[in-house]
Structure formats: C-alpha cells, structure tokens
Assembly symmetry: C2
Homo-oligomer: 329 residues x 2
Amino acid sequence: MKKFIDTADSLLDQSLSGFAKAHADIVQLSSQPRYIKRLTPAFPGKVALISGGGSGHEPLHSGFVGKGMLDAACPGQIFTSPTPDQMMAAAEAVESGGGVLFIVKNYAGDVMNFEIASEMVTCENETVLVSDDVSLPKSHSTGRRGVAGTLIVEKMLGAAAEQGADLAACKILGDRICQNTASIGVALTCCTTPALGKPTFELGENEMEMGVGIHGERGHDTQPLASAGEIVEQLADAINKELNPKPGQKALLHVNGFGATPLIELHLIYDLAACYWEQRGIEITRSLVGNYTTSLDMAGCSLTLTLLDDELTGLWDAPVHTAALRWGC
Amino acid sequence: MKKFIDTADSLLDQSLSGFAKAHADIVQLSSQPRYIKRLTPAFPGKVALISGGGSGHEPLHSGFVGKGMLDAACPGQIFTSPTPDQMMAAAEAVESGGGVLFIVKNYAGDVMNFEIASEMVTCENETVLVSDDVSLPKSHSTGRRGVAGTLIVEKMLGAAAEQGADLAACKILGDRICQNTASIGVALTCCTTPALGKPTFELGENEMEMGVGIHGERGHDTQPLASAGEIVEQLADAINKELNPKPGQKALLHVNGFGATPLIELHLIYDLAACYWEQRGIEITRSLVGNYTTSLDMAGCSLTLTLLDDELTGLWDAPVHTAALRWGC
C-alpha cells in the first residue's frame, strides 16, 4: 500500500485537522464528536442542512460546508457511517430555528444512523434520501446507492435554504432534484483502504468494472477495457434510459473522477458525453468536471445528469462559498 | 495502460475541446494553432499574461486563464513544449496595448520556444522564468526546474496586471515572487504517458522517489517508503534551507497533488507541514491544497512555500475567475 499516512488509525483525524486549518476562513472542526460546521452562522430561521457519511470521498461532504451549501457535515471513519451522536451534536450546533434537513446517501448504515438521529433530535427535521446510481435496478433489495448526484442535491438545496425556503419546501425540492438526477460510474482500478492495505477487488490489466459504487464494491459487470467513446456511450445510455430527456431539455452534466483520474482524461470524457446528449437534442447548459465524489485512490469516473428548469438552474448558479465549490461570493 | 482515451494522438484535442465546453463562460479555444484565451477581453493597456508548456499538468496552465490571472495559455503535446507560432498567435489575440509578459517554467524546450516567440512578436514583452524546484542545486547545468510555484507567480502577477501595474513593474514583481518561492516533490508511483504506454521509471512497492519533477523524470534519490511525518520533514527541511524564513515571517503554504493522490492524504500532508513551520515560528496565513500542477496519473505531492508581505498577500487575495481558482468574483 502506497499512501501518505502515519498510521491507518490516525489518518482521519490528521486529515480533518489539515482540512480545517487550510479552510479556517470557511469551516470549524469539532473533534469530539466529529463534525465540520460553517464558520459564519446562518441567519435566524434558516433551514440547517446537514449531510455526512463515511470518509474517503473527499471533498464530499466536508468540502461542501459553507454559505450557500451545507451547514454541517459528519464524517465517519473510512467507508463507515458516522454515528447518531455526531449528527445530533451537529444539529444542535447549527440549528437556528428553521429545523434541520438531513441529506443522506442511500446506504444501510447511513440510513439507520441518520434515522436514529432524526428521532432523537429535539428540533423539527426532514430527510432527503439520495439514490441516483442507476447501475442497480430500482427494485434492488436495499434500493439504489447515493453517489455523485449528492453534491448537486446539496448545492441546490443549499441555495434554496439560503434564499429562505422553509423545511417543507426544502424537502419537496430535494425529492424533486433527486427524481431529475441519475448517475453511473466505471472503474479502471480498485481503491485500497488503509485498514485492509490492498485493493478490495482485483481487475486485470485489460479489464474495467462497470457500474461501481464508491466504496470499493464490485459493479454489475467486469468488461474488457474499451475506448473512452465506447465507455461514455454505455454510461450515457444507462442514464438516458432512466431520465428519458426530450429534445430541447436543458441539463447539467457532471463528470466526476474517483480520486486518481487526472483532469486531462475527465475533460475528454466531458467532451464525449456532451456530444452524446447534444446529438440527441439535449442542451447542456451547466457543467461540473473534477474529482468531487471520490473513492480514495480509485481510478475511474462517473457521469451524472440533472434535468434543469429555470428554478433549478437559478439554484445551481446562486452564490456558494465552500472549500470545494465557490462562486458568486 | 489504463486510461480514458480513444487514441494517444487525439487525447489532447479531445480534452481541450471538453475543457473549453465545460468552461465556455470563462475561456475560448483556438485550435489552429492551439491556445486558450480569456473570454472577456482585458481593459485597454493591461499587461497581457501568457504562459504555457507541455500538457499533462492540468489544471496548469489552461485552468488558470481568466480575469485576475492569465490572459492566455499555450498547451503543447504531453510533456512537450508548445511552439512559437502558438505563443505568437496568443500574443496577437490578447495583447491590448500594455505589452506581453511571458511566464515560463524553466525547461530547455519551453525556454527556447518562448525565447523565439519573444523575439518574433512585434509588441513589447518581458519574460519571468520560474525555477522553484529546490531538489536540484542552484548550480545545476540547466538551472532548477519550474514546478508548482508557477501557479503562485501566475496568480499574484495576474492580480497586479489587473490592478494596472505596467510591464516593467510586472517583470520586477514576478522575479521577486520567484525569489520568495520554493518547492520540492516526492512520488509514490511514476506516471504513464499515453504514447509510451508504461511508467517512465519503476518504483518498488516499498520505495518512493524524492525530488521528482513533473515529467516522469527520476528525482535525486530513491528511498524506502517512509511515514507521512518523515516525508514532510524531509521536504520542508529542503525548502527551509533555501528560503531560511525567520520567526514571525508570514507565508503561503501550497500542498500540491500530482494527479492521483486523493484529498484525504493531501490534507494530512498539509496538517504536518503547517505544524512544521508553526513550530519554527512561521505564520501560515494563506493556503492552497489540491491537485493543481499534476504529472498525469502520478501519485505523489509537492510542498511549496512563498514568503509573504502585505503586497503579496493582497495580490493572492485579489479576485480571480478561472476554471481552477475562483474567488472574490
């Protein structure tokens, strides 16, 4: 295992400490229990947005804490759900009279722990469950996983809350963004968790894994390594089948790297994916390209498409001031 | 070789096309000859800043084109200098009466080609040569290489030019930033160029390469893989020996990933490096952490320290609106 670490046990706390120091103008770290909150308090009555999940997906979620996006994020251990005490402490720290909206990626551990927190916090709260990964059928026993579409949900809801939307409106909006968002990913290499010290599955030199999640789990299919054009066609077909956009539809296209895929390749993927939808009459009016929802040191990428209307476009464009996304502020 | 590509020959043009599409609100691409220029023209009389170099280091330099930073960037083929016709076309496109400042990383090919362009363009021009890599002695035959410190030079000069500094002032300022900036890097894996199809050098499972450049060249020393703490100590010692900062000195600390190192590790490195200097009385007042000056898919990182005064701090903080750095706009 080749990583910059001192010990597997200390990685998370050292990394969070560095993150908080490097972005001390935006966030504040609580160590016991662990959460990151925005430095500048929200206005009284604003709905507080709280997300979280296992670590290893940076900048998700801590990198999205700040004005116009999340009020707090709860990082669990690597690929491990945070615990209810983290969420409750975060809620207490950032709730300002408008209630709490939990944004949860659909994984059994996250769902269970956020449910417990939801029942135990004393303030009014709602939950938006993100399950944008179309590599699994809708009928899958635990439902579809939440992947890179989560940041789009967090960005748009963050803007709505900043503009004064109340808890009920945020919940309805969040569910609507989820319904208009679909993602799917492919891996060229697997990731190595510090605790295990070796890749969680093996891929041959001429193989790729289609439909992977973000926790080093296998996808639905191991395939021969294909050209970028063939890969994008397969990914985009799966998204298109789900969302079924009509010609003239506006959309946001997000090409996400899994942590070890360089920008030169992600921009090539973006070019091919944009062409795919433009050829079908879809207008790609907003874009995001980079390593945002990662899986430690996995090489690979995912495509996410969100169908836009004027409201969602406005929420995407609204000012945001976080470590990983910043514009208009 | 596991990459998202169609063919090695088409990679650069496809990637530039995707980059320009994804950031069509900031940049414009010229394909023949290849350069990226800012979409919104600068005010008349502004010094035009032009950089460039081999591709494979994204987001450097194209990702730094926009208001408050570069006016144009000239991308060569992978790890290959751009040619004078690119620089001359870029100069003609963005020169607006204040002359051109070329910002050049110290590599033989880049230096030669920019020198030819400098002689052939009809407008007044100056060159700032960046050679921040302290892994080589100052007496090295071709001088020290330009690495991750380049973006700091580009950011601060971009702010100065935007504030109306003239060509002579920009040249003096650029040289001063260079003198106050030092970098050094370490690799855990080597990178694979698409043309070669395999790593340009081999590293054992328990080895790291100290003092690497950003073109897949070997460093000064192959060492046993060490803990992050030991690695940071060695890197920071080399920078400290060069810049010799005194207690009370303010500084900008930049932790740069080489393309395949995830943020969770870079933030841990930042934590250790910030501690190193704080223990010596240096105040880390500005920071930047992420994959900014990359070497394709190399796993590794570099540290860069720039000694700050009020003027340089102000130039760093000034508004910037590019694909890869954006604040205050």
